[in-house]
Symmetry: D2
Subunit: 424 residues, 4 copies
Amino acid sequence: MTPSPSLAAAQSQGTNTLAQRYQRVRDATLAWCMDLQPEDTVVQSMPDASPVKWHLAHTTWFFEQFLLGRWQGYRPLHPPWNYLFNSYYQSVGPMHARPQRGLLTRPTLGEVIDYRRHVDQCMRDLLERAGADPELTPLLELGLNHEQQHQELLLTDVKHLFSLNPLKPVFRGRAPMAQEGRTVPLRFLHGREGIVQIGHAGEGFAFDNESPRHRTLLHAHAMANRCVTNAEYRAFVEDGGYRTATLWLSEGWDVVQREQWSGPLYWNEDLQGEFTLAGEREIDAHAPVCHVGFYEADAFARWSGARLPTEAEWESAAQDRAVAGHFADSGALHPLPAHGDPDAPAQLFGDVWEWTSSPYIAYPGYKPEAGALGEYNGKFMCGTWVLRGGSCATPAGHVRATYRNFFHPAARWQFSGIRLGKDA
Amino acid sequence: MTPSPSLAAAQSQGTNTLAQRYQRVRDATLAWCMDLQPEDTVVQSMPDASPVKWHLAHTTWFFEQFLLGRWQGYRPLHPPWNYLFNSYYQSVGPMHARPQRGLLTRPTLGEVIDYRRHVDQCMRDLLERAGADPELTPLLELGLNHEQQHQELLLTDVKHLFSLNPLKPVFRGRAPMAQEGRTVPLRFLHGREGIVQIGHAGEGFAFDNESPRHRTLLHAHAMANRCVTNAEYRAFVEDGGYRTATLWLSEGWDVVQREQWSGPLYWNEDLQGEFTLAGEREIDAHAPVCHVGFYEADAFARWSGARLPTEAEWESAAQDRAVAGHFADSGALHPLPAHGDPDAPAQLFGDVWEWTSSPYIAYPGYKPEAGALGEYNGKFMCGTWVLRGGSCATPAGHVRATYRNFFHPAARWQFSGIRLGKDA
Amino acid sequence: MTPSPSLAAAQSQGTNTLAQRYQRVRDATLAWCMDLQPEDTVVQSMPDASPVKWHLAHTTWFFEQFLLGRWQGYRPLHPPWNYLFNSYYQSVGPMHARPQRGLLTRPTLGEVIDYRRHVDQCMRDLLERAGADPELTPLLELGLNHEQQHQELLLTDVKHLFSLNPLKPVFRGRAPMAQEGRTVPLRFLHGREGIVQIGHAGEGFAFDNESPRHRTLLHAHAMANRCVTNAEYRAFVEDGGYRTATLWLSEGWDVVQREQWSGPLYWNEDLQGEFTLAGEREIDAHAPVCHVGFYEADAFARWSGARLPTEAEWESAAQDRAVAGHFADSGALHPLPAHGDPDAPAQLFGDVWEWTSSPYIAYPGYKPEAGALGEYNGKFMCGTWVLRGGSCATPAGHVRATYRNFFHPAARWQFSGIRLGKDA
Amino acid sequence: MTPSPSLAAAQSQGTNTLAQRYQRVRDATLAWCMDLQPEDTVVQSMPDASPVKWHLAHTTWFFEQFLLGRWQGYRPLHPPWNYLFNSYYQSVGPMHARPQRGLLTRPTLGEVIDYRRHVDQCMRDLLERAGADPELTPLLELGLNHEQQHQELLLTDVKHLFSLNPLKPVFRGRAPMAQEGRTVPLRFLHGREGIVQIGHAGEGFAFDNESPRHRTLLHAHAMANRCVTNAEYRAFVEDGGYRTATLWLSEGWDVVQREQWSGPLYWNEDLQGEFTLAGEREIDAHAPVCHVGFYEADAFARWSGARLPTEAEWESAAQDRAVAGHFADSGALHPLPAHGDPDAPAQLFGDVWEWTSSPYIAYPGYKPEAGALGEYNGKFMCGTWVLRGGSCATPAGHVRATYRNFFHPAARWQFSGIRLGKDA
């Protein structure tokens, strides 16, 4: 396979660094499991989620399948596991049905950790032996970014699982955060107009769905300086937002009725408390609302007399800014209030993924990766909506201005929130 | 209510003409029912479809609700019918659940036809009395275009219903068509590049979702000179198209597996015959393939090394051309082969609705109609894809270059087909 | 096929009489359709119910398949209709799926009535020609009893269909009944004890599931002198019957919760009105409660400190009594209060089918009919419960003391009610 | 609560013995878990099954709720666990939904084992203090028999879980069995006729559903000397048993089609191998077929020209025989061929539960236990069928001639098999 330009770009970094980065990312995944019991790692709480143990094994299989398997002399440690831990790569072979991942009590957590160790050792050997191979680096980068995506999913999947347990377990207790307190007042900031460039090009890793960099036309518009807060969202709920059909997209209203939604996913009925990775907590009025789906983001925007930004509007605002924010590494694992200059956009990165008004489709001229890795993104370009900017569960360094996340409009278990936009 | 500019545009036509047009459109609806038995008009073959009798009553209710009801002195003929025949206008009141429309054996067909007569008489009175009212004309235009949409749905819903009857009833026998025979060879024609204008503005009726007219950026591209034929699509099927996961969007592949699709909706297993409104017929190799969903259109395009056009590409190609083609009035009720100059686009209008690669969302600056009619289009802008150009079941005069139809990606019971596009 | 003893018994009646009886039963079926519109005859309101038109055709097919088809020279009028109107006789060939009977708008009602006329003419010819054939009579009896069963189903299916229409159509208006007024006080009457005989033997028609006549052991018991009234059942509802889990069988409670039951099928929320074949009416406190399922009958009995009678207890009480009562022919099409001597059992026949505590299984020594007719009853001996005595929708003359009706425990659309029993 | 006669009967045994029995039964439960990993104990493979961890906690809760809670001074160790581990006792309070038992990763296995230890200590104290209390013994007996039932369910639930893992884990390896080899030839043995007594009375523990002992009438009949073997059942499969509609009850045939059954639950497609608690093994032609449901047992019997025995026939044959057979304690955890005198009934106890033709309903005069324990059995007397005799997964000493097990007719994950009966 000839690496695509976007992947090849990553090759400038030296081998030693790569081996170190590999180990750091892999260790970080395991570190998230330190507060879990083996029992916590087995269960699949819904078809959209996966067991922690499955995440640990699947990310390992990814390196085995797409890296170790391409260089001579490697044999899979457990050939039957290809079937178990292939997520959705039809080109590579058949796979265990997604909704049944939670039935796999074996291999055990211990066996999966041994598998990780074995593959890590082989990867170290490979990096030593073939680190200079120009094909290797981009695949390694892909594997590490893939692993980071699963680190975030691991957290959101555990949160969902724990939320369904009447004992409301605590994943990790939370220290008081410096950033708490009053947030900045809401303002709309004018955005660029006319033809701009978005999408990835040049140095640095990016997924194929961020390419090619291309021109797009922005109409006159403005975007909020920060995310919608819990207080603002609570006003919507208290104003009967979840009981007013005309605020909603038709399919969203169907979901509200069928699922009996009356607030964000983890809010209590009283609108005062919510379930977090630190257990039940009081809702912070100043923090960004999270665990809302696209349907809710869209209905809230309509109620506000605003709209959601397009992904191009968002990216044009973010592309000149430092990728700084409140990510998983900060330890709060929950979004925090925005602070600072109200005339500069805050929270673009970190805190909550921001729903855009853009359906997730291919960029003009998009070409999926060749081979099985072409299945990574392209085949999901239907029925989902783009989210931007990363969240408090995203590993620092994983996200960038061109990054396109995507989920179904009813999905709420990610740390997803709302930034308002409007026509200027 | 102040009429929106797009509706107000329709007011130049005189009252007499309007009354005549009203009667012509209303009569055309009933004319389609002449070959049906009362029994055929009651049944709902799936939640997406409606009974013919329901179409007849709902379109009448629309005039009663949105026209007669706004001018003084009118009382609904049967107030409880508001509940039965309100389709989805939450602002107007509660409604019968859509999947249960087929339970309404009463009112009978005869009673519904009496209802139509009553409303038609009141409408004639209204047009005589208030025809000069500038608010009236745009609403009348909307009602008539609404009625025409249901004329097409009536045909596709009857076709679906009859297809499920093992007796394979004939809706209307078909005379030999002059246009049959060899189609033109496939060519790709270059499209415009750069900023173009699309969307509706100015004179003539359009739905709110076609507005506002706005600038959009076209990248270099080409578009096929005609629709994909049955022969071309059969080659895809015979090449294992429906058994090759990597050709499909992930959700499309799920549907193929779950519904066990192996060809277009009404094709026989042997790929030689198909069910039509004239009963079982041999598939015409040269006619456009129809009754394929977006998933199939997309998979076929991928198999062809091409893609679907965007709606902007399609509209920029269509906007200078006469709205001529093979519509319902021709009587074939089935698409026909393209003829003529291979270097000019054929079949842009009529024959089959053409799936585009564009999700159905609001245009920049879109504002729904005020009031209940704002529910007509806006709340469906999620989860569906745009189709363009009308079909052999569309009433002549109903469609235009800016017209945006939309259906779910798995929907196949409309006369929907494929035109290929590609990057230039 | 050699006729079974139970069927052969019917042969003593002369041919002329048979032809007359045939015509009377067939005419009675059509007579029930006189108040219906063609539209009413097409729709299937739930999988358990069938369209009226289907009943008319299926009963006709039954004669064609099991009588005309066995004597020389007959060819089915419409061979494809075998597939459409075979209900469940696997031995005879494949069949249209039951839940899709409502999709068959064709053949039309008129065509089905023509089919009936054709088969009636052929049946008259057959009876004239072969009426003395000892095989013919029992099959004819079976066909006529089968037709009578469908007469009752036609009424209950229309009632269900109309109940789902917000217009609440009237099937047939109702004249005041002489029998209304205060019912007799409730008493328990002692039943027989020890070994008794139940089941059919000897002269007269019976279904195979009523055979063989056999000994069974009755324990000391008593049975109520009449059915449970609406007033008595309303007391159960008002006492929180539908909100008290411990009164219910576990699966019954699941249904109560899932379906949100709060009273008999056709009762209004206010417990004052109910839907009947004569439209909405006030509930008659003295009439038997009806449209309750086995789960409700069982819960009511538990709440009453009683139980349901076994089918053997019921039959031993009924077997010496005249088959007199309030059947469909009386025209009320709704149960009426019991009158007369409180020390004699009332309402054993007619008014409402009475749920017993007996699961519907084979009698000791049961042998199904040979051939396809063995599928008539035997294969349903699982999951249903026995009801006895006929209802106000049963044709007079159709029922007898040995008659075993059976429905699923959640089924409520039959005229099914409750008679209490208890240990003595 | 006054203990019922059946429970009171158990009081003759001394306190010391009771404490010892308590410990033995409780230890036996944990012993079955020794080959499991924590991960194996969390997952619920289907709504009918429960996680091992849940079994461990629920049986403990049972002692806490129904014994410790009734004697002074006890406080539940973890009050919120009442909600989690109450199975279905509505009288006691609300409970976690059954299909969501597999979401409870907390409490962990270790915490559950601590809970067991705590309750065991309290139970020892209670037995020492109040062992002479005549109310205590019958409740203790009930608790221990309850625990034994869950021991069997634990095994069948683990088997089901492991069977769904493509790795086909081994629960416990299996030593060669002395009893293997050729089975005895099939013979039918005449049973008693006339009035017999069945049901429990007198000394010794029994569940309330085995009471009262009562007279019942047996018709002339015979019963097979042993269970149906795998070879015999394979002949049925190879004869097209699963493709012949007329062999099946109607609802059974629906299940065969819907679930695509083609053999017993754990058989391979090739009819040669099967999944066992010792992993994949060759099917032993001489061993009893197991993991068939009632529908299959009934269809096999029909194909054989026989029928299933009634529960009264079975009990009258078993009531004079020693409760000897091949139970869980033998270690094979799989049924074994019958040996010995072909004129004596073999395998009545142990090996496989035997489906009878008797729906599970109350015996004449049945009274559920007073209070919450009345929910133990009575509310399930609907929709299930009686099985008799225990299986190779039943703890020795748990079963007796009067014991009534019951499952839905489609249930196959128990060790359930077939003994044929017939009319004499």
